[in-house]
């Protein structure tokens, strides 16, 4: 499979993951019953996209995921797009400076995105709320939700990297590591 079609598979993987992540956030109530907080996998997905894909994939994914999230929420339509895009964009712009293969770097980025995306959404909601809906009431509950959301983001990014690697390994041959010996030092055997 060529590099172009592999890129297509990876973009498709991201789109399906975003679709499922929004649905899981709506449908899975057991985590909400257990912790009182609903997990949100989209910031983690944006970090993964920012570390592995190009800026246009990050753009398309943030628009699709943000609008899908808002379509099932009371949020003003489109308000989640910008925070998700910023999460992915900031990671993408600094892609070369980040130790992207290290799990702790992935965890830290996930925590930051999981914490900052909801905060930015809340700021935008209060700015663009209009007169139709009342603003959310913030308090200690929100601090708890914010903490658990950040942790979820941190845990989700390394898991997404593993899932992404599994998808990739299904479509490309494993790269065989180079021989450590120089070619001219290799022992040649032949029949006398």
């Amino acid at each position: 499979m060529g590099s172009l079609s592999l890129a297509g598979v990876q973009v498709l993987f991201l789109a399906i993951a975003a679709w499922l992540a929004v649905f899981a956030g709506t449908w899975c109530s057991s985590w909400r019953v257990l912790t009182g907080v609903q997990f949100d996998l989209l910031p983690a997905l944006m970090v993964y996209a920012g570390l592995t894909r190009d800026v246009w994939t990050v753009t398309a994914l943030s628009v699709f995921a943000g609008l899908a999230f808002d379509s099932l929420s009371l949020n003003p339509f489109g308000v989640t797009v910008l925070p998700l895009f910023f999460a992915g964009w900031c990671v993408y712009v600094n892609q070369d400076l980040i130790l992207r293969k290290e799990s702790y770097a992935q965890f830290v980025l996930g925590v930051a995105a999981g914490g900052l995306c909801p905060l930015a959404s809340l700021v935008l909601i209060t700015v663009f709320l209009g007169n139709e809906i009342e603003p959310p009431v913030l308090g200690w509950r929100y601090v708890l939700q914010w903490g658990v959301g950040s942790l979820c983001g941190g845990v989700a990014v390394p898991l997404l990297f593993r899932a992404g690697a599994a998808v990739r390994s299904g479509f490309v041959y494993e790269v065989v590591p180079d021989n450590r010996f120089r070619g001219d030092r290799e022992i040649k055997r032949w029949k006398v």
Binding site: L20, Q38, V55, T59, L67, L74, V79, L82, W89
Partner: protein, 268 residues
């Protein structure tokens, strides 16, 4: 990828978001419903899986367990029939008294059962998705309840699903009354945003009201959305506000909104 394309992408998203946020409410609401339709196959699949799981669970119990369940159901049925007989007597008496005093007759609630298929993915709202929509006659602002008490009201209506705003969300204020003292107020979200989502505030109560923990709070019937006498919750504690001019009670909701799976939509 060049630096320029990074900033072009930033500009594209910024302009797109400004356009979407600037759309009229009716258009963005329609777009929301259209995009939400993308999830219908997943909701359907999840519903079928749940149905299959419940079917399997009915196959697994032993004969003894089934016999026990049957006996229990028979006993409950007897009790409910007895209560219904009493209730019908009281209902007839009530209608006669209303006729004799010239009051309008009360009609029994017309309701439709709906399955809860999802909840708000954002943590700061308290909404539910149900599997009834405009094809089932659902309209915005219809009250939603369970046998235990009030859940909320319908907000957005799609063809085959609707969004319900639950009590405790800032967008669902309920005119309420303490049943024992007849003091009226409005149920609003807890002002301190406490960790427990089951607690809401009953505000705008008179400062002299003799409220006690455990008293029942029901809908007052004031306003046009919620009919009278649907249980909302019970008073947890009371505090005085505005130098004793008003009182505010914390109310523990009767319905656990995190656990409900089925609700009734009340038709006018």
């Amino acid at each position: 990828m060049s630096k320029r394309s990074n900033y072009v992408a930033l500009g594209v998203v910024g302009v797109l978001v400004l356009i979407i946020l600037g759309l009229p409410a009716s258009v963005s609401s329609r777009l929301k419903l259209a995009l939400g339709g993308l999830f219908l196959p997943l909701f359907g699949l999840a519903g079928s899986a749940q149905g299959f799981a419940s079917q399997v669970s009915t196959i697994l119990p032993t004969r003894r367990e089934l016999a026990e369940d049957l006996n229990k159901a028979r006993f409950e049925n007897e009790q409910l029939r007895f209560k219904l007989e009493q209730f019908e007597g009281v209902w007839r008496e009530n209608q006669l008294l209303r006729d004799s005093s010239g009051w309008q007759r009360r009609s029994p609630m017309r309701m439709k059962l709906a399955r809860v298929i999802g909840r708000d993915p954002a943590n700061w709202w308290n909404t539910l998705q149900i599997d009834l929509g405009s094809r089932d006659g659902i309209q915005p602002d219809m009250p939603v309840r369970t046998a235990e008490g009030l859940v909320g009201k319908v907000n957005q209506v799609g063809y085959s699903r609707s969004q319900v705003v639950a009590v405790g969300d800032p967008n669902c204020r309920v005119p309420a009354m303490v049943e024992e003292t007849r003091d009226t107020g409005v149920v609003v979200p807890a002002s301190n945003g406490g960790v427990d989502r089951q607690l809401v505030d009953l505000s705008f109560l008179p400062g002299s009201s003799p409220l006690k923990p455990g008293q029942r709070v029901v809908t007052s019937g004031l306003g046009v959305v919620f009919p009278k006498d649907i249980l909302i919750g019970r008073v947890a504690d009371v505090r005085s506000v505005g130098y004793g001019m008003y009182a505010e009670a914390r109310v523990r909701l009767e319905v656990n909104l995190n656990r409900i799976e089925q609700v009734w939509v009340v038709f006018p």
